[in-house]
Symmetry: C2
Subunit: 374 residues, 2 copies
């Protein structure tokens, strides 16, 4: 039975009932909490003003299009994750002047600096103004109540359109008020079966649920549709009586800035250090296609391996068309627990329109394994 005529206003964990609008109570044997995520917002006022938009709901996209159609000329994008980057690119293509204001030193915080710098350079080359190290302090409104500028400690950036691309947190209001245990990330604490740790008859899946890193085992929160979908399937399977476990996340992510493709998986150096790994990094430059083939473009591949074991623990790619999806080979290799040496010996495809004789993935793995051999 699908009920679209009401909404949950509370969960009575003791009684095993959901309290719907108007006080109706719906009993359950198993409950799935799938309340999703909520956009993170900076601690400033003015976020509800005309001209300030999140990028969460379908309606946000329609609102931004309408703002452009109504003549918006200067956009400020807050945040340099993939949503921020994609919005900046699109607004630039639509003819607006675009400034990206970052709290961090570089966009794409889950890249190492030497890779993030390439992304930043590509943004600048497109004509996007990147302003790093500047947490937003104030949304300035004009006399009409609409946004006029974004102020940081360093400057005020004129804007008639502000886009919030600051990431997503878990939406846990219902769960928290009901007394479901939240994890260290603030998301609902679940086992690998997606069962809530505090109430086994309650499951949580998707952006509202905490998950764990495949490599380190640490609790993390990653708001992404791929994980959400898999977690929902795990919860459904378990409720239906079939054994299932969510297998963790590597933090694989991909985006593009113009023709520059950007992707990462596993641990970056900051994460490897925090997790206490003794690791090596290798950064290679290769070509997306055979060097003589029209359209060949540079590709940079950086990989992290555990010192001694040679196990792959992370990879980052920045390069021309055809670069980014190569991250999936690393994601698969890390998932399987492969060493750089094993990956270097593997039989990847070669055809001049798509790859040099040695795919850049293999080149990076080979360099890392050569060094491991001493």
């Amino acid at each position: 039975m699908i009920r679209t005529d009401t909404r949950a206003e509370g969960i009575d964990l003791g009684a095993g009932e959901v309290v719907a609008a108007g006080g109706e109570r719906l009993g359950y044997d198993s409950l799935v909490v799938a309340t999703g995520g909520k956009p993170l917002r900076p601690p400033v006022t003015g976020l509800d003003a005309d001209g300030v938009h999140g990028v969460h709901r379908l309606a946000d996209g329609a609102d931004i299009r309408a703002a452009i159609a109504a003549g918006a000329k200067r956009a400020v994008v807050l945040g340099g994750g993939y949503i921020g980057l994609e919005m900046a690119e699109v607004l630039q293509i639509r003819g607006l002047e675009v400034t990206v204001v970052l709290a961090d030193p570089l966009p794409m915080g889950q890249l190492d600096d030497d890779m993030g710098e390439r992304v930043c350079a590509a943004m600048c080359a497109m004509g996007i103004d990147v302003q790093p190290n500047q947490p937003v302090r104030e949304i300035e409104l004009g006399p009409d109540g609409a946004v006029r500028a974004v102020r940081t400690d360093e400057a005020a950036y004129d804007a008639d359109l502000v886009v919030l691309g600051l990431g997503m947190g878990p939406e846990t209001t219902l769960a928290r008020e009901a007394g479901l245990a939240l994890g260290t990330t603030g998301a609902i604490d679940v086992a690998h079966t997606q069962r809530s740790r505090s109430h086994p008859e309650v499951f949580a899946a998707g952006d509202c649920a905490q998950t764990f890193h495949r490599i380190t085992g640490e609790a993390i929160h990653v708001a992404l549709g791929t994980h959400a979908n898999k977690q929902g399937r795990v919860a459904g399977s378990v409720i239906g009586g079939r054994a299932a476990r969510f297998a963790g996340v590597l933090g694989t992510a991909m985006t593009k800035v113009g023709d520059l493709e950007v992707a990462r998986t596993g641990l970056c150096t900051t994460q490897a250090e925090e997790a206490g790994y003794d690791y090596r990094t290798e950064l290679i430059e290769s070509s997306t296609r055979a060097g003589y083939f029209p359209g060949a473009a540079p590709i940079h591949v950086k990989i992290l391996t555990e010192r001694g074991s040679g196990l792959l623990i992370g990879a980052q790619i920045v390069g021309g068309p055809g670069s980014g999806k190569r991250i999936d080979v690393f994601a698969t290799a890390i998932w399987a627990g492969m060493t750089a040496e094993t990956l270097a010996g593997s039989d990847l495809s070669y055809a001049p329109p798509f790859s040099p004789t040695y795919d850049p993935v293999v080149v990076a793995a080979r360099v890392a394994s050569r060094i491991e051999q001493g």
Copy 2:
């Protein structure tokens, strides 16, 4: 010491000497035979006539360009492997009328029929005339001694340019005459160290050497630069005193026909049957990008898994731009011994310009693992 002033005319295995032109004898402790491959040729006369070209040496490419510049109008390509397909496409683009004559029912013999048919349809859609099931019987020459037509049992195909794309065999003349043992494939029989099985002080690497299939362990001959390079490194490492083993091949291959990308790895159904596998196949259709994203194109992914274990043993991909390199994920997963279920749970990248939420690789793996679960 590099000697470019002479060539090997024989190997005296008993004395441990290479016999050079003019009778000079060069002693060795270790010898590497890297005599490469030779193009396979059909058993007909006329192959040395003007207008008939292999695609082996750099000079072949120059000769074909010269023939086009001199006014060649009608080309017949013999063979439907990736070299044949690539030559047919290029000649078509250069404005020639192109007929591809196949001994087999379909191009790309290492694809299953249902995938090969898609390749064949793409060739026809480009205006290439494909003539299957017709071994060549005769190269007809004109009164000037140049090629005039290619004759099969069914018809004669006019041609002023004939391109041989029939694959490569091992060049083993020196090895055979010296008494080095050849394997069942006709290539030099070597161990995983690239040592000749008959003479351990002699190594062979590259297109002249036999190799083995990673999955079945069976002896095969695959003429491809990626393997050749790796085998040379193994031989060099072993001679230099470091343990090294060539790890086998999956038969990964990739090409394109116009915008259609074609790739395969591991076992196709014919190979799986020959190897005695109890296997399942799954064929899925998905999209190269998020369905709503401009440029999204269909992609077909077919995978073979071992019944019971669920181990991945083969994959084939035919689809639009961005499809082919996805084969590397399967090649890596098969290399690592992953099941379809494990791959289905993995964390592959998602971004609308590059992938639907579930990458087509994961969709195929999921379907296969669902069926395995019963």
